[in-house]
Symmetry: C2
Subunit: 286 residues, 2 copies
């Protein structure tokens, strides 16, 4: 009998994962969502081998469960369905914060192996209609195993990450993840939003290049999702923002002071740092 991977929540990420996991080993992909329009779209676009609108029917039979819901949707489901998971199953998620999720996973019975995941991919769009199989191509896949996680489940999750196209898999702790992501992802969103708050925004059409498009793209975010993500990681994010404000202010003062030699020195310092850090990855902004 085929094993099953249940993907709970067929939004942008869940839908893309259902598409990208197609043909993974001998697993049947079961897509789960409560929205009938979403299930209809999934059916019409062959997203998932099988579809279901009732998570309680799917959990007891699933060998792997991927929770692709908003953070609070994940913690609610873990508490509501804690006894519905199949003993010995692997449960993971795709959530951009890990501390609160891994804390909620402590409610689960010992027979459920919960390993947090965060595929570092996404677009500024939401919902299944924007899902695409190539979303994870060349991205990083971060996992937060627990001490009791089995090597077999860790290996399975790594094979899934490779199958969907990720370039590598990083193991870390929930705390380290949340601290790093405050800087690399959440702060980028606050920057994009703040740039868009500028009164010049609507006048700038025709004057923007790739740097402006690259920086502001993610401002068109899903408000409900990001309210949860940002507020669940506020202390780390505030710390990152304080560093940014310090560094921006230093540039502002140098520019206002008119010290060209000092400006060149600062540009040299920062641009050297950028060149030294190797951030290869997909160049195509989707």
């Amino acid at each position: 009998m085929k094993q099953t991977i249940a993907i709970v929540g067929l939004g942008l990420i869940g839908g893309s994962m259902a598409l990208a996991l197609r043909g993974f080993e001998d697993y049947e992909i079961v897509g789960v969502d409560i929205s009938q329009p979403t299930l209809r779209f999934a059916r019409e676009h062959q997203i998932g081998d099988r579809l279901c609108d009732d998570v309680s029917q799917v959990l007891p039979e699933a060998d792997v469960v991927v929770l692709a819901l908003h953070p609070k949707g994940i913690t609610d489901l873990l508490s509501r369905c804690r006894d519905s998971f199949r003993p010995g199953c692997l449960v993971t998620d795709v959530c951009g914060v890990k501390g609160a999720i891994m804390e909620a996973a402590r409610l689960l019975p010992d027979c459920v192996d919960y390993i947090g995941s965060h595929p570092m991919a996404g677009t500024e769009f939401s919902g299944i209609t924007h899902a695409f199989a190539e979303m994870f191509r060349d991205s990083h896949y971060i996992i937060t195993p627990r001490p009791q996680s089995t090597p077999a489940h860790i290996a399975l999750l790594e094979r899934m990450a490779r199958h969907i196209g990720c370039r590598d898999v990083y193991h870390t702790t929930p705390e380290a993840h949340d601290s790093m992501i405050a800087y690399t992802s959440q702060m980028m969103h606050i920057i994009a939003l703040s740039v868009c708050d500028d009164e010049q925004l609507f006048a700038c059409n025709g004057f923007e290049g790739n740097s402006f498009r690259g920086c502001t793209r993610v401002a068109a975010l899903d408000v409900g999702l990001w309210t949860e993500l940002l507020s669940m990681n506020a202390p780390a994010l505030v710390e990152s923002l304080d560093h940014l404000l310090t560094h921006l202010t230093a540039y502002r003062e140098t520019l206002a002071g008119g010290d060209t030699a000092r400006l060149a020195e600062k540009l040299n310092h920062s641009s050297q740092r950028k060149r030294q850090v190797n951030l290869s990855g997909p160049d195509l902004l989707s």
Copy 2:
């Protein structure tokens, strides 16, 4: 006899323009640079129909001159060669600041038609080895004509912009250009540099996604060029940075205060602004 376009300075932008202008109407493209390795590379890669290392030989015969030098290189050349231009010629540039350049252009004799240009394209690399013909594809091309600029020259510049692949041509004043560019371009560079000043930079490998790559890409800038560009437009840039610091601090305070409803409200406000502004353009970060 063929007319000629002289491109003075075969760096990233001048080299790309020489490639992109190939076959433009009946013009011969003459590439000018003082560096022999640059000229050798240009020769080996068919950049320019003809090459020359002496600008004083080229200017008297050129119908169109494109100054693709650093800002100070342009102002120096305008003052040094003011009497070498062919009467009736069109002179333009590709410089990211326009106030200081257009001021220097006032030194020219009346028979020289100087119209400022700023193609909104580029990459984080420098030099002719990174030049490519597609650089300007779908970008904006901004021009700053003077009251005495002839309609024929403006039309010629617009045809050149279309030929190299630009999606549209915007006419503006040097002051409006510099104020807008402080926000859309120069501030994006200061943001990227400041993000790279963060002590977490070297630890973040594996945790970065497209938002981080998109925001920080331009930090790997040409220090000499950007010292000039930023310091020549410091007042407008400082004003833009002050707005940014205000908006970032507002987000920082909301996050630190833990008011989730207020955070959602702010996210909604900023993301709506982003959705309302139409910033279509090339998605491929080169």
